[in-house]
Symmetry: C2
Subunit: 575 residues, 2 copies
């Protein structure tokens, strides 16, 4: 729309496209709720007042709010394409997300970031991208790519790339690692997201002074208060697993709500389908006593302004016509959603034609020579006295413990021993064809037979596999490779359940409901094999993450996270 047209329509000289009559506007600018007849033209709000329009919708006193914004999300956690993610969240009133394509970037580098941008083109959901700052996440593993400061700078040309994503490497900032500071400088004054669980005092001062102005990792009130008081915007997270709303809600006051926001970080298919998205967080916040207008301000204008999205987050002249219609402000049931002035969801249904959504091709993300795989762990020397480091799983946590046990040995090699719940785990490098395989042992999965494997394994997303036999482990990896990435449960060489994730080995090309069902089937199949964990695939996906204590396995070997160094599987006599 030209500026001339915008002005002419706003003045009422020309008819608008659409008039939403008899709305009660939740005005996040003034903090008031007031009646308004809202005129919309070519995707923008032109104002409220006495307008003529080609289409008039009488809202009969229902509430109108600006579209909701997720301040920080990894789209990959939804396990579906951006178009399918949009189909899931837009009916819940989300019209914009600020995403960090950290996972896909660790697999495919800049190509992965560009895939997210292309695959979100033209959606009724505005997908903004923060340039991933930590690819690879550590030097202890083989990722699919490395993003340097120079690589990051190539992304600024894209109008939807708006800042630097969560700087998880806060030790790298504090210790002034040159490549890390180069990335902060590459941000060039754009917003920089933080990630610094528990950081406080002088180290927190330093991290903030370096330019990091948000945090979504607060888990307790005092931590959030210190961070906010020092200038960080607090993104209150309610993900599938990490849920911080109730701990952090007392943080919010009318005087500081400008610095308070909502985010999901990671929501899995089942959570999106059963609980919803930002609407769910707003609903919980209001139910917990937060003033509704403040809750909507946090979910809209405050987040838009944080990320300098100057025409988002409010229903006011000149703003993008992204808005929702609500029957009431307590249950936050979203009746209708307009994106860029078009009705895109009604009564929970997504209206756009799915075929019209972008389908973008992407190069394969899995490169493994299956025939060459060998999970043998030979025992040298005095097998009877050997002691091994075992990853001890703690149910429903992503931290592990380091156990020291004597292995079960057969034919001069360490073997899985389901009787002792002592299973082999392998991490198979899948990006570069290095043939790297990290081998270890894990306790806590309880598999009696078969194997489970996945190409989702934070943060480098190599293939991780756990099994009762080497043969089933190989069969599971082979099945993952065959699918071009995915998750699988195998028993006696037969696939019991599978979820193909052909997009970078992280995301499906199928509908969200199917992915949710397949994930449920995987869990069920693993349980049928004796696994006792509630979500074994998810638990397994964090066993290769060498930044979370205590003992983890990457394609390059076992990592003692406390020492931030590799350790041998066998405990030496001198330890």
């Amino acid at each position: 729309m030209t500026l001339e047209t915008l002005i002419a329509v706003a003045r009422g000289e020309q008819s608008a496209d659409l008039l939403l009559k008899n709305a009660q506007l939740v005005n996040v600018l003034s903090g008031e709720i007031h009646p308004a007849d809202i005129a919309i033209h070519e995707g923008r709000i032109v104002g409220w007042g006495e307008y003529q329009a080609r289409q008039v919708v009488d809202l009969g006193g229902r509430f109108v709010c600006p579209g909701l914004i997720d301040a920080h999300v990894h789209l990959e956690s939804s396990m579906v394409r951006p178009a399918e993610f949009a189909r899931a969240v837009v009916p819940h009133g989300t019209t914009a997300v600020v995403c960090d394509p950290h996972e896909i970037a660790n697999v495919l580098g800049l190509e992965g970031v560009r895939y997210i941008l292309q695959a979100s083109e033209g959606l009724p959901l505005r997908v903004y991208v923060m340039a991933p700052s930590c690819v690879p996440a550590t030097s202890m593993e083989t990722a699919g790519a490395e993003l340097t400061a120079a690589d990051i700078e190539t992304l600024w040309d894209h109008e939807r790339v708006i800042g630097l994503a969560e700087m998880m490497n806060f030790p790298g900032v504090l210790f002034r690692v040159p490549a890390v500071l180069e990335k902060l400088r590459a941000a060039g004054g754009r917003p920089i997201d933080g990630h610094a669980p528990g950081l406080s005092g002088l180290d927190l001062n330093a991290y903030i002074a370096a330019g990091v102005r948000t945090d979504h990792e607060c888990t307790d009130l005092a931590e959030a208060q210190e961070k906010l008081g020092k200038g960080m915007h607090i993104l209150i997270r309610e993900g599938t697993t990490a849920r911080n709303l109730h701990a952090l809600l007392p943080l919010v006051t009318a005087r500081n709500a400008r610095l308070c926001h909502f985010c999901t970080d990671d929501r899995h298919p089942d959570t999106l389908l059963t609980e919803g998205h930002i609407d769910d967080i707003v609903r919980r916040a209001i139910a917990a006593g937060l003033d509704p207008v403040t809750a909507f301000q946090m979910a809209t204008i405050h987040t838009a302004e944080l990320f300098r999205l100057w025409d988002l987050g409010a229903v006011a002249p000149g703003y993008r016509a992204d808005l929702l219609v609500l029957d009431d402000l307590e249950t936050v049931q979203v009746a209708q959603v307009y994106a860029a002035g078009r009705l895109v969801a009604e009564g929970g249904r997504f209206l756009p034609d799915r075929a019209a959504l972008p389908a973008v091709s992407i190069r394969p993300g899995v490169r493994v020579d299956v025939a060459a795989l060998d999970f043998t762990i030979p025992v040298g020397g005095a097998a009877a006295e050997a002691t091994v480091r075992v990853i001890g799983v703690i149910p429903e946590q992503i931290v592990t413990e380091e156990l020291h046990l004597s292995p079960t040995v057969a034919d001069g090699a360490v073997v899985s021993d389901p009787e002792r719940d002592l299973l082999k785990i392998a991490v198979v490098e899948r990006h570069r064809g290095t043939g790297n395989v990290g081998l270890g042992l894990v306790r806590g999965f309880g598999l009696r037979r078969g194997a489970i494997a996945s190409s989702v394994a934070h943060d480098s997303h190599n293939i991780v596999v756990i099994g009762a036999t080497d043969a089933d482990m190989k069969a599971a990896v082979a099945a993952v490779v065959e699918m071009g990435g995915g998750q699988v449960v195998v028993a006696e060489g037969e696939v019991q359940a599978a979820c193909p994730l052909p997009i970078a080995g992280l995301m499906s090309d199928r509908p969200l409901e199917e992915v949710r069902d397949r994930v449920a089937a995987l869990t069920e199949a693993a349980h049928a094999l004796g696994c006792t964990l509630p979500d074994p695939l998810m638990t397994m996906s964090f066993l290769a993450l060498p930044v979370i204590p205590a003992l983890k396995l990457t394609d390059r070997g076992l990592v003692d996270v406390g020492k931030f160094d590799f350790v041998p599987l066998f405990v030496s006599d001198t330890e």
Copy 2:
């Protein structure tokens, strides 16, 4: 300071420059007041906590606030250079101003804007510039320059030019005048200040939709409420003349204070010296019942964020160390001011060496052939029945009324007639040597003899002169030209009082106190000649402003502001 040094000092690995111990920090981020030992290094806050520093100052529990920011000011109204303005306002706690060099740009164009930038370089006051949007202000007068959209774009290279200044030509926006919209487009997404007294309804929608997001012209609460609710930031103005605080203060709530700010717009020397600056507005606001923390938020962080000055407006890690020390939060007596970490004012005294402040030369702003001046108004035809349009001054207002009177005639020409308080007024074009002289009559000054003249005459700043005789009018203009611009009172050919304003005919190169005294002397001299107006020079300076009703005079003739067109001095028989 390098990022490496900033981080190292913030972590406490190296000593800071300065530690302000035992402060009570007015934390405009959290909205709380709490104790803090604040460390500063190389001009930035590094944080608070246990720090070592080369210099330690014990504040003994006094309050520390971020430096105050004037959201909108015309520096020229102070009638002194930027360095001298800084000397006046920094001891009052102002450490940054967002200025619109509208006046000097109307005289000297881009050179005028660049003068303000150069003359404010290195001051302990951060002077940000909005690019003037309305030069010339109208097509009915001859200004010294024209700033096109292309000219405006040449300014963006300067890091302290941060947006487009008040778009006074709101009719030009509403009627979509191409050159006006070009300027809005030239802003390129930067902040655009508004100026739209009384605009409301659909026209206001259109003005805001066009991208204008601030207004400092609200005079009543309902107007401000409508503007704020539609997305405008409201800059509450307390100038020398226009004072809107008490009318607008009820606007401010905790939920909308993010959109509320303070500005002075125009403060003259006497006001700056006797009342102060933003501290004065904060003090009045608190006295009127505004919560002190909210008042400081409005005067600091909210304004910094409005103008996207991301490291100003708060005392927090990484922010610029611009701050003030207060004994209490009610009287807002500023005990000390730090700018970029240096103590720059104490107990109302400005500490930097005045000689070190920049002295910048600028080309002369006055070009008039005095010998050619002729203020004769010949009466053609039947002199006895002639009727003339007379500018009727309304005391202490800038609007005028149009009177129709029969002129006093001598020797076939209209003459000033002090007996009837009917004086000649002339506007002498001073920028381009056109020889243009607009002639008219004015009632309300009450001069019995002599003449007053000034090169300050909004908005084109030609020389305006009013006198009892043509000879004294010529002498007064000659004196202004001789000074290279200024204000003068003349009687019988002799200068009675004068204030030279050699910088663009708008600003003095002398200290503020001297300018204040000279302005007082001018008023006194005018009163001695019979003038009855409290501030005749100021009243006269608005008689050439053809955008304020009803009858005004420019160098090109009499203007009927209602018709926005020229009208003849003599009323024709057919009217």
